[in-house]
């Protein structure tokens, strides 16, 4: 039990709260679906134009959709004193933060990824590319959530801090989006799944997995004072 059990408890709770009343787990998914749905209207339904920018557009939608859920990641816990109690737990704080981020990712990104194949069809991605592309989006979304958590932690005590969080996080998102969109473009032009940009993206996600929880934990600690 103890360490793993406690981390799983945090993760389960994050999913439960996300899907419970007022949890807002579907917010990102609906934002993602909505922004893809208007793409053919805004950009014109011509298959050649839409097909060319489709994979990149999915990355754009994923990036913005992941921002939507960030604001509340730590704010609710800070306001009701949950973070105080978590600091007094014997479990290392960065592990708790990692579990929280993973829980949030499971609750929020999984529904988003579930609708992403349909979204890909809407923007005319070639059918045989859809599943590999969505797999890359899944890897990328984990990285975006991890990096975003740092911004969410920094902005946790700011009322309506969504703007601040977005300003902090968007520049940090740039590398993931660049590599992710290049990997998607490579897929769309018949390249390998494990193309060079995708391997870079994987490396970024792994680095974020190691550093983001520590950075976010330190930022959260500042707010508790």
């Amino acid at each position: 039990m103890s360490l793993v059990g406690a981390c799983l408890a945090i993760l389960r709770r994050e999913v439960r709260l996300g899907w419970g009343a007022g949890g807002g787990a579907l917010l990102s998914a609906s934002f993602f679906a909505g922004s893809v749905m208007v793409a053919p209207f805004a950009l014109g339904p011509a298959p050649d134009t839409l097909g060319k920018i489709g994979p990149g557009y999915l990355w754009l939608a994923l990036t913005l959709a992941s921002l939507v859920s960030l604001e509340r990641l730590f704010q609710a816990d800070l306001e009701d004193g949950t973070l105080d109690q978590m600091l007094l737990s014997p479990v290392p704080h960065s592990l708790q933060v990692l579990s929280k981020i993973l829980g949030q990712w499971l609750a929020t990104a999984v529904p988003l990824l579930a609708v992403s194949p349909i979204a890909a069809l809407l923007v005319r991605v070639e059918p045989e590319v859809i599943l590999p592309l969505c797999a890359q989006l899944a890897v990328g979304s984990l990285g975006l959530f991890l990096i975003g958590a740092i911004g969410a932690a920094l902005g946790a005590s700011v009322r309506r801090g969504g703007l601040l969080v977005a300003l902090v996080v968007l520049p940090l998102y740039a590398p993931s989006v660049i590599f992710g969109a290049s990997a998607a473009a490579a897929l769309a032009t018949g390249g390998d799944f494990f193309s060079q940009p995708f391997l870079f993206l994987c490396a970024l996600v792994l680095a974020a997995l190691a550093f983001a929880p520590v950075a976010a934990a330190a930022a959260v600690r500042l707010h508790v004072d």
């Binding site: 799983l8 709260l17 306001e79 978590m86 014997p90």
Partner: protein
Amino acid sequence: MTAIRALHHDVRLQISGVALQRGYRRLVADFDLTCEPSDIIALQGPNGSGKTTLLRALAGFHTPFAGRITLSRLQGPEIEEPGEVLSFLGHQDPIKAGEKLIDQLRFWADLCGANRDRVAETLAQVGLSKQADLQGGVLSAGQRKRAALARLLLEDRAIWLLDEPASPLDQEGRALLGALLDQHAKQGGIILAAVHDPLPGVAARILTLGAVESGVVA
């Protein structure tokens, strides 16, 4: 010493020369206090005199401007983190609106490594058995405080830091609080509570904050 060894908790808390500051406002200066097992301290003082800040400093949330806070066991391993021996009950109640009360307490039990089976028992102890399956959002302020007390019982740590524990409780709730405080002190626990009214049911040493000149420091 033999009497103390038989106790469930044996932690000592020493505060020496602690000064607390919020922004440029000095709240507490040169504060000394030693708490032995079974001590009950009531911190009193006007609003803004630093009661909450002192409790938060003891919990390790707030870094004192000066001075030292030492936690030690009379015997046994050294204490590395305040969380090993100390529970904090703030004026916010960490109760989520959209989750069943019993699930919330099970979560806290998992997080502090307590036995999940004790959750139902502690809920009964604080008189919330009937509310176990209710969502947190429908609980009253007093019921939320009782739930927080149940968390304290689950955590089973030596030092209780309580910020206005009695404020939303009804008569019966205050009697319950008194009984829990008494039981905790008898087991060797230390209680530090920020209060305006005397703590119910127990005799506490009263410390008044805000007597020292507090004001803006350059």
